[in-house]
């Protein structure tokens, strides 16, 4: 479904609030039919970004293009886009049906056609048809979520924006709705732009993810690439548990680190001579080694803690240089050597590492 043509394009978008700059000249292209997620910690500018995209705030500088139309100065009610609010912003004085029909009523669609469309949308969102006459206050959290979605879809937007709509829900419902949203995206073929602070939400649903930090995009890529090949320490750490070793390259061919023992000639990435970097390895790629194994990198350490994470077990290991490493194993692969306080040997292979060339 995803075409290569951008439906939404940002050029040097700047947003200032007084002396504070929330967005520093952001460029972005979102493709037609894509599920695009913007992830960032609070204060990173992602909410400012979505307010600009839907027209609830004005850019200080720069341009926003919807296909070949410049829309940054267009008020929200004239833009052919629509947003699902974090609070959902359902109209409490209207029934479920009236909420869904609201955008159609504004366009003076005949009431029979409106009702027909509202019932279709109830079907699409797997709500019973008799919810049409229900009051909003009678709906559960998940049902309200679906009503808000139905209302946005009734608008038939070019792009559907989401401002952390799942953040207020409990874990199980969130998981269900994440999958439903992804499914809905596939069935409707619309362009979804989703904002969240939750990496998990982003990973489950998105075609591409943009990581935001302090008013600019740190990295924009598909989920696997952001997880496996982050461009910076910030992205690496934001995308879940990670082990980072500060490395230097004396001769431009091998990497060195105080706590790592490197089997020579194993690095598959390189730094210029004298360059510094971070060698990243995710916790699931570190293993406990026996005497007979010879991984590319070896580290001696002491087992500090063991945490059960459900299907996985997480270990904390302190190296001889005092760095704390995180190791994760599936429950069935639980390490047998694991007495708290005991000496362990850790190892991982160069193919599982990623070199971040910033420090």
């Amino acid at each position: 479904m995803v075409s290569s043509d951008p439906i939404l394009r940002l050029e040097g978008v700047v947003k200032k609030f007084g002396a504070f700059t929330a967005l520093h000249g952001v460029d972005l292209e979102i493709r037609e039919g894509e599920f695009f997620t913007i992830v960032g910690p609070s204060g990173s500018g992602k909410s400012t970004m979505i307010r600009l995209l839907v027209g609830m705030d004005e850019v200080t500088d720069g341009a926003i293009w919807l296909r070949d139309q410049r829309i940054e100065a267009m008020p929200a009610n004239l833009r052919p886009t629509c947003m699902v609010f974090q609070s959902l912003a359902l109209f409490p004085h209207m029934s479920v049906g009236q909420n869904i029909e609201f955008p159609l009523k504004l366009r003076k669609v005949a009431s029979s056609a409106r009702k027909e469309r509202a019932l279709e949308l109830l079907d699409l969102l797997r709500l019973p048809r008799d919810y049409y006459d229900k009051r909003i206050s009678q709906c559960s959290g998940g049902e309200k979520q679906r009503v808000a979605l139905a209302r946005a879809l009734a608008f038939d937007p070019e792009i559907l924006f989401f401002d952390e709509p799942l953040s207020a829900l409990d874990y199980r419902l969130r998981k269900t709705l994440e999958k439903e949203l992804k499914n809905l995206h596939q069935r409707t073929g619309k362009t979804f732009v989703y904002i969240t602070h939750s990496l998990e939400e982003a990973m489950v649903m998105s075609d591409r993810i943009a990581i935001m930090k302090a008013g600019h995009f740190e990295q924009i890529a598909v989920a696997d690439e952001i997880y496996g090949r982050p461009v910076s320490r910030f992205v690496a750490e934001f995308m879940g548990e990670v082990n980072l070793f500060e490395v230097t390259s004396r001769d431009g061919t091998t990497l060195e680190s105080p706590c790592l023992t490197v089997k020579s000639g194993t690095t598959n990435e390189s730094l210029p001579a004298g360059g510094n970097g971070l060698l990243m390895v995710r916790p699931e790629f570190i293993r406990f080694c026996g005497e007979d194994e010879s991984p590319d990198y070896r580290i001696k350490g002491r087992l500090l803690e063991e945490y059960a994470l459900g299907s996985r077990i997480q270990y904390e290991v302190e190296t001889e240089t005092g760095q704390i490493l995180t190791v994760e194993k599936l429950r069935q692969d639980r390490a047998s050597s694991g007495d708290i306080g005991s000496e362990v040997m850790l190892g991982f292979d160069a193919a599982r590492t990623h070199l971040i060339k910033d420090t």
Binding site: V54, L78, F85
Partner: protein, 284 residues
């Protein structure tokens, strides 16, 4: 134990019940009883004949009632229109300035209504503060706007502004911002947001504000006397005259009962349509 508590509860409510019975219901009962007595009697020990009610029609007292209700309606509509922007500002825009405004408006209530109205008379009368100064400076005078229906309505609007403004501001503050933003996002114009989001969600405040202003204005007497110079006679004016100069208690009582029934019906109808708990912020 619970029974004892209940008994004590009823007992401790007795003094207040007595006050209500004596101060509120007893006069009402007396008024209702007098309203059905024959004309100009001063005792309830007469045969009821309802003649006072026929006088209401035959001697044109219904005209005073229509003036009262009409001017109350006009002032309520004007109050609603002029208070809305101010109330909206107080609820959504002014922030700290809202407190200053609230205090300013409430302060005006510290001065007696009559004194404030006489202040307007001194300001507006021929040779008064405005006309007098302008004539002294320019040599051109003009007629005083006093002593007419418009100035009475102005007086009602002026005096009852707080009773519209505050409930309205409270009502508007109950309109969630995100609902307005969502409506705009879904394509609603400002007018559509006003009609379909603001008005229905602020309705409890609108109803209470209108009810208070209308009820108070319909029972008002000072504005027509002081500013209006009795250009028109209001029903309350008639009631007062019947009891005092007219020495016709049954007539005064019957006029009172008619006013009470009309306003009481309106008030009950209005109150039944709003959720007072919601206004008081006890639930959303």
């Amino acid at each position: 134990m619970q029974q004892l508590n209940q008994k004590l509860g009823y007992l401790s409510a007795l003094p207040m019940l007595a006050v209500f019975a004596i101060a509120l219901f007893a006069p009402l009962v007396v008024v209702v009883l007098f309203s059905i007595m024959p004309s100009k009697v001063f005792s309830l020990a007469n045969m009821p004949d309802f003649s006072a009610y026929s006088v209401f029609f035959s001697q044109g007292y219904y005209k005073s009632l229509i003036w009262s209700l009409g001017m109350a309606l006009a002032s309520t509509v004007i109050l609603l229109v002029i208070s809305w922007p101010l109330a909206y500002g107080m609820a959504k825009v002014f922030r700290k300035f809202t407190l200053v405004l609230t205090i300013a408006v409430v302060m005006s209530l510290f001065v007696s209504e009559n004194i404030r109205l006489f202040g307007w008379v001194l300001t507006l009368m021929k040779g008064g503060l405005i006309e007098g100064h302008i004539r002294a400076w320019t040599g051109v005078g003009f007629d005083s706007p006093l002593y007419g229906v418009p100035i009475i309505i102005f007086g009602l609007v002026y005096v009852y502004l707080p009773f519209m403004l505050f409930p309205l501001a409270q009502g508007i503050s109950m309109v969630p911002d995100d609902a307005r933003q969502a409506a705009a996002d879904l394509g609603a114009t400002r007018w559509q947001i006003f009609r379909q989001i603001d008005v229905p969600l602020a309705a409890p405040g609108i109803v209470v504000g209108c009810l208070l202003s209308f009820v108070l204005a319909a029972g008002a007497v000072a504005e027509s006397k002081i500013l209006g110079g009795q250009a028109v006679i209001t029903i309350t004016d008639d009631i007062e005259t019947a009891f005092t100069f007219g020495q016709d208690w049954p007539l005064g009582s019957s006029l009172s009962v008619i006013l009470i029934v009309i306003i009481g019906t309106l008030a009950l109808f209005g109150i039944s349509r709003v959720d007072l708990d919601q206004i008081m912020g006890r639930k959303r």
